[in-house]
Symmetry: C2
Subunit: 713 residues, 2 copies
């Protein structure tokens, strides 16, 4: 089997050594042997070399499942992940007379295990191979859009060839921002079954109120099982299928975490921006986040005023309001965190140091060209933000633009259509068109557009588009007149009017006249032009970032620090320790919570409505075999300083001996800015203490056969 | 000078000894010598005997000021208390062009000190004498209302005689619920001046948001100075007055508090209920508090629905809504705390133990009679709650009842009128009548009355009053008809209509007809009857509680615990230590906060708008002489487990050597139930660290002459 080879590092002649920030790092498995010394210093008792191959034990036990991570915990395909990662499976199996979300589920035996929704997948990595030369071969010498397209074409060809093998799902991962490319080959297990789920009031205790808010008290775990055909190959659900024999599985630890203990975690973190340039950090903190908060808050104000006077508008815009509020809160939290960490200054000083190295001098032309390419994007950032919201925050306007775009794309062969407008997307588009009615009030949409377009009208000439200027004028009065006329005349508020045009659009036929459709016909060409410009800029960044990364490698080497690629949905390892923190002056968060907190939070009302059997078991106090020896009670969740981000949900947390002690499921609010900067004072990850799972499965909602299966050798 | 003699204890033959709950206790100064051993064990380095006399040094340095406590900190009458205790004085001296609340104030010299509002007082205790025999002499053999009146008459006679001496203010304090009575003689200093106040954004940093919420970061202190006439006697303000030579003053410590340090505090706690009966605990937890929350929440619902549809109603009821919300939150917090502490069970078990003692057997008749008297009150508790709110939560209804009551009282000689309706109260009543307009909307008042009277209509016959049944009927329909007619017909919504009737009422003349006035004429006799019944019940409790207290003394003796009287506004001492706590699972509050927290909380907007000079000084980091040696930064506030309640504001906090280290100003939210039960896990007091005051006065808003005065020997 081809082995991962950390060529990007060796090629550059860089020796890995102790990172200065010992707890930061989403390491590639291949980097682990080089981290042997810091790993041992941190307390790891295993062989670092055994962590190098993500296609062999123990890492091959760690798989993609749903939108997150999972790990095999028996030799018969038993799979541990989060309740929220398996939520769709539980929901899919709920019936009016037996709501498994509320009630939880225990399969008494394998025959009782319930098939997941047919599109639910478990992906087991079986190949991880460097394909940089193949991917970049055709791109060399090209620029901008051509560079982008060459990389895209080469990647698609690699994937197509790889997927010739039955049962395989393949992808190409881009490491260090276009420096290296890897072909990932994954076994696609399609028969996944629900084995054990706690009731929602355990698996999602605290819900949105506690989300991000330490201390947590949530039993966010579920057990699934992967099945394959009798021939051992991936297969759709069939009663004849047999449990998948995983190439490796993790073993439950007999004890649990305590402050200071070594901990490590493997999973599929989604995206981070840690190695972006100082200019990008500055833009994020001083423009993007404050601007997002300001525009979102203005839109929130429009919806709230409308809702105060009109109960129907309040109902129709409830979801959009919630989403804008979450977006604003999240952006404000990220901004607060980045400011608290002085992220702009820290990154700027770091980059200044880098630019003084000899390596940076050699790369100077590329680095300067990258800065120029980024500046081109920044020059149109306000327009990009406003036009994005112009589509995403409206219903009728988006309908008109979607229909016209669909008409244009449908004139092409399906394979050449823009993703999102292919035949496979038609059902989704139709569903969205049908929902418009329930999410729309004409007066509110006009006010939202007035906010966005009034801002747009203030943009400098270079950012504005002639098509928009003609359509909406250059003054508030012209804007009002134009919107009044559009919304007085459009019939797209009627479902039939939308669906009849959808029927035409999907066949590439002309759309019946309507003021908003006529507008869309004039605006979509501008939209297409902007898409081209965006791909050109993306291509230039893809071409130029490797120069910056080479300089950064050299700088980190000079500092004696290793460099991990920013997260990109590929398997990473993080190591560190069980650790509390001080969120603010006068307050300390301890790293391990107990069942006392469940009782304290319990109100009897959702989301703090712990089930009676749980409350009784806590009151009864039989924690024999799972109690923490020092706390002398049952623990629930714990904190580590491990480096995680979205996608790490369900990641197994291991102790110094590589045994399973926890299940990652959340971060703390203070770490919401960690996608840009890891601040060791505040970055923590939140895990289910598996002693809590063992206790629940032993004493509260018993499943002794599953405990036995997990604890068997 | 007559000395306090803990006769109530000696009479009962009880030896004081180590209390089982070492940190609980609002001790009488006379109890301190008996607490010498536990005091020493806790770390106290001084002479416990020196704390026995509240009319001699050092306790004579601790005085009543405004509604709280203060202490002399120089031999020239300099007085340290809270910013919030001196708030009225600062406000009184603010001018449109110099708002001292916003700007703070530093008197450059004594001539620049600003006179307080003329009714502001400092009271220095000069006598504390047992008068039990005199007070109870005339009451012996009486019961109910007669017992109450006899105690009241005897107390008033003692006060009148005591106040014959010029410059004295006297009172009679009731200890151990009618077991003992003391005459308190206090020098009434009437010329008080403002010397130093920090800006509001320091003295009240965090305001209502941080109130009760540890961690705190508030510089809640102010310096005043007491003056007397050139003859050394109390006098009204005069430029010829001279600083008062206090009989004692406290000295500032050179260092500050750290976790575990001994701490003690003296002050005037207002009221606690710790020695109430188990039945009263049960009623508080299982009836009073839940009922208060339920009724308040229903009234809140009425006002919020009205406000959602009517902006004017929203404005007019804003203050009432805020007050109901605070009341509901406070009651809910107290309930939560008492439940968390299992207060009902703990007190019930304790009482069961007591009832098994020989002493309780001797007192059995009295204890049983007390239980019966309390049950009489409980039998009408719902009516009492509803009729209280009937007056306090309405404007026109209250106006009518006040006017009719005033008319009746004004027919008597002034001295015989019920307190609140005497000539001295007329200005206040007139002010309230003038404010009605701004706090009233007829539709809302009708709905509030509907809520209260609909509950009233559900009461059993024995609780209802014929006058109310006649006025409002027995059915919802009758109630609606009656309220509709009353509010359609009344003219009391007009200020002139209210004030013309006020002019008549204050002279005892008949009031011009009006539907609500006519109603009040029918209801006030019922109100007067209820008042009589209440005084009768109060008299019975006053007569009977001493039996219960004697049994409790005996039980505590058997347990080896001392017993302090419940708080009653007299000087008490508490001792314990500097101590953080865990408010809930997973969270620890550290006992000392630092200036870091000021910066963290600062938003630039009220109430988190730290002044620029403070922020600059923090950034500058010159904490020489006041920094905490371990934290290596400037501290701000600290926590102790000292036993406090309302009235302890401004209490000096002393270290083991009796030096001043802090100034009490707040409690933590988790301790809101401590007026009923001291739970050592949660009961904390919040203090200004005087190192923060010293730093502010040295480096931020300098007043070196005052620091020198406080630090002089």
């Amino acid at each position: 089997m081809p082995r991962f080879n950390p060529l990007s590092l060796l090629t550059l002649g860089i020796a890995l050594s102790l990172p200065a920030h010992a707890d930061e790092g989403m390491w590639l498995p291949a980097q682990m042997p080089e981290l042997a010394k810091p790993l041992r210093n941190a307390g790891f008792k295993g062989r670092p070399a055994a962590l190098a191959d993500l296609t062999a034990a123990p890492l091959s036990a760690v798989v993609r499942v749903g939108g997150g991570t999972g790990s095999f915990v028996s030799d018969a395909g038993l799979l541990l992940t989060n309740h929220h990662v398996a939520y769709g499976v539980i929901q899919y199996n709920s019936k009016p007379d037996n709501n498994l979300i509320d009630n939880g589920f225990i399969a008494a035996d394998r025959a009782a295990e319930l098939p997941a929704n047919p599109d639910y997948r478990v992906l087991v990595t079986v190949g991880f191979d460097k394909v940089t030369d193949t991917v970049l071969g055709a791109a060399t010498g090209k620029r901008g859009r051509e560079y982008f397209d060459a990389v895209d074409r080469a990647s698609k060809a690699i994937i197509a060839e790889c997927e010739q093998e039955a049962g395989m799902r393949c992808s190409v991962a881009n490491m260090y921002y276009g420096t290296d490319f890897y072909r990932i080959k994954q076994l696609e297990l399609r028969d996944v079954r629900l084995v054990y789920a706690p009731p929602r009031a355990i698996g999602n205790y605290g819900d949105e109120i506690d989300n991000f808010m330490w201390p947590r008290h949530t039993g966010d775990f579920t057990l699934l099982r992967a099945y394959v055909g009798p021939d051992g190959k991936p297969a759709a659900y069939s009663p004849d299928n047999v449990p998948y024999r995983a190439p490796a599985h993790l073993r439950l630890a007999g004890d649990g975490p305590k402050a200071g203990d070594f901990a490590m975690l493997a999973g599929y973190p989604g995206v981070t921006y840690r190695h972006r340039t100082a200019a990008e950090f500055d833009e994020q903190v001083n423009w993007t986040l404050p601007q997002r908060v300001a525009v979102f808050d203005q839109l929130i104000g429009v919806i709230e005023s409308a809702g105060a006077a009109d109960a129907e508008a309040r109902t129709r815009y409830a979801a959009q309001l919630q989403s804008l509020k979450n977006g604003s809160k999240r952006a404000a939290g990220e901004l607060e965190g980045l400011r608290r960490s002085h992220a702009v200054q820290v990154r700027a000083e770091d980059e200044r140091g880098m630019l003084e190295t000899a390596a940076a001098a050699k790369e100077r032309a590329g680095i300067d060209a990258l800065a120029a390419a980024l500046a081109e994007g920044s020059a149109v950032r306000e327009r990009e933000l406003l036009l994005g919201l112009f589509g995403s925050q409206t219903q009728l306007m988006r309908t008109a633009i979607t229909l016209e775009r669909l008409r244009l794309e449908s004139a092409k062969p399906d394979a050449e259509r823009e993703s999102g407008y292919q035949a496979r997307d038609h059902a989704l588009i139709e569903g969205i068109l049908k929902q418009v009615q329930r999410r729309y009030a004409p007066a509110v949409e006009k006010q939202l557009l007035t906010v966005l377009l009034a801002r747009y009208q203030q943009l400098p000439d270079a950012q504005r588009l002639p098509e928009f200027d003609v359509a909406f004028g250059r003054t508030p009065a012209a804007l009002k007149k134009s919107l009044d006329a559009l919304y007085a005349g459009t019939t797209l508020g009627d479902e039939a009017a939308r669906l009849s045009r959808f029927a035409a659009a999907r066949e590439g036929r002309p759309l019946a006249a309507d003021p908003l459709i006529d507008l869309a016909i004039r605006l979509v060409p501008a939209q297409l032009r902007l898409e081209q410009e965006r791909k050109t800029r993306d291509g230039e960044q893809l071409r130029l970032r490797p120069a910056y990364m080479r300089a950064l490698f050299a700088w980190r080497q000079q500092q004696g620090r290793a460099l991990y690629p920013d997260a990109n949905g590929t398997l990473r390892i993080s190591y560190g320790k069980v650790d509390g923190f001080s969120p603010r002056d006068g307050v300390i968060y301890t790293p391990v919570t107990t069942v006392d907190g469940i009782v304290e939070k319990n109100t009897g009302a959702v989301p703090f409505d712990a089930p009676r059997p749980l409350l009784d078991a806590i009151a009864n106090g039989d924690f024999a075999g799972t109690a923490d020896p020092a706390l002398k009670t049952q623990t629930v969740n714990f904190l580590t300083n491990l480096d995680t981000t979205g996608g790490n949900s369900g990641s197994p947390v291991l102790n110094a001996r590589g045994e399973l002690i926890g299940l990652n499921f959340d971060s703390n609010w203070e770490a919401v800015s960690a996608s840009w900067m890891f601040d060791p004072r505040y970055k923590r990850a939140v895990h289910v203490d598996l002693r809590y799972m063992r206790w629940l499965m032993a004493k509260v909602y018993p499943a002794p056969h599953l405990l036995q299966e997990m604890q068997a050798d």
